[in-house]
Amino acid sequence: MSRISIEQVKHVAHLARLAITEEEAEMFAKQLDAIITFAEQLNELDTENVPPTSHVLNMKNVMREDVPTAGLPLEEVLKNAPDQQDGQFRVPAILE
């Protein structure tokens, strides 16, 4: 029994902003299921009282003086954009 359904795969793909075909949905369901099944071996470990590690060096917030510096030139920032107009990034209509 697969524990990841095709429907779930499609939901996750939507969250990740990926368009997938039926074929891909089936492939990902199978592959993600295998990886998740493999990952569930972690449940063998009792981690009730173990703190999570998100950062290995135990750093705290790194503060600095709030000194204004020049940003990147607008022209440079826009030069890689697929579409731009009037100094802004241009995208397709949000509403049809």
Binding site: F28, Q31, F38, L42, T47, P52, T53, A81
Partner: protein, 485 residues
Amino acid sequence: MSLFDYKLSELHGMLHKKEISVSDLVDESFKRIAEVDEKVQAFLTLNEEQARAKAKELDEKLATEKEFGLLFGMPIGIKDNIVTKGLRTTCASKILYNFDPIYDATVVERLNQADAVTIGKLNMDEFAMGSSTENSGFQLTRNPWDLERVPGGSSGGSAAAVAAGEVPFALGSDTGGSIRQPAAFCGVVGLKPTYGRVSRYGLVAFASSLDQIGPITRNVEDNAYLLQVISGVDPMDSTSANVDVPDYVSALTGDIQGLKIAVPKEYLSEGVSEEVRQSVLQALKVLESLGATWEEVSLPHSKYALATYYLLASSEASANLARFDGVRYGYRTDNAKNLIDMYKQTRSEGFGNEVKRRIMLGTFALSSGYYDAYYKKAQKVRTLIKQDFENVFEKYDVIIGPTTPTPAFKIGEKTSDPLTMYANDILTIPVNLAGVPGISIPCGFVNGLPVGLQIIGKHFDESTIYRVAHAFEQATDYHKQKPTL
């Protein structure tokens, strides 16, 4: 005989005595690339015009200046996930096929300040996700020792280019083994520094809590020189550590008398081929003969590292790769009806399968209802893995084992099943999870293919790793072997 058979310090001396020029060094690179890169396919983009102009400029400087740094005029290759101003940077992904960076990564800036010469950008698995460089969106890099085999990955282009003599030095990045594994497969020296040792500013992020940039070179001394230049705190990367950078080369004393080595039994057990095991045991004998002692230890949570890694790295990747949306840079689909559709089509057309798979896995692990069971669980196991290392380092100076379970595998051999490919990284992944530094150096050959020895050190103790690696190198000649191309 190639100029690149000399060490960095020797080439520096030759520049000093005017026996060679910077142009000679840069010519050597492009000549070799012209000869062999059609076969090896390590480079995605060449920087020929600029590199030759820079060489000329540096040669003029050379005529008047008495003092110049060690990296002055040295040709270097850069992995294509490290941004280089004005030089196309693609992460080997179609989604960044035309990306022209508007600033230099901190490591590149430091190399430029040291007057190194960037030769070009090196192939990799797309967004550094992979262990064979087969996931590149553009081309298949081949192992210089056997063109039917993979160079390893994800820094496969970097390791192959150094092994093939196209550049004497390269930068790679390592999230779960991506410097050490290809270094092992290609018979070169590759170091993953301590997390925080080298600034990640300008390294296109894959898994931010694991990624580190590091040097790939032909010998340990060169590696130490290169790390020296790229290390240190950087205001542009708040996770770079404010820890003094020692003089790494001065650690290369050749003296490892009394050194205490730990050999994890998990690193020599199932999955590790007999030939690789024998090479490592042989290497331990060499180190013993130099005055070190070794004992078997246990890193009991090693077997959980792979699952932990894939949950954490994929989760971080799913967040980091959200920025590729066809708005500010890179590829954008032509067939979009509206904004959401544009995001979806752009990403689906721009990303390859492995990248999509990891984005999917990460999005799943972070999604509502699954976060605690997968992501948080993995973070807790990461703590246990980190503690394993801390426990061993209370009594020992370094941990030694193989870098990979087997030598380089054949192209196409592991592409059908993601888990088989992932398993190739079981010996390198724990090091990233613990944030400690590790190196791979050549320690033998199996059927003509290089085997890598992995030496792991304490946080910020790259010096001891280099000292051990260098002592081993002095006692052996594996690093002097070169592939025939």
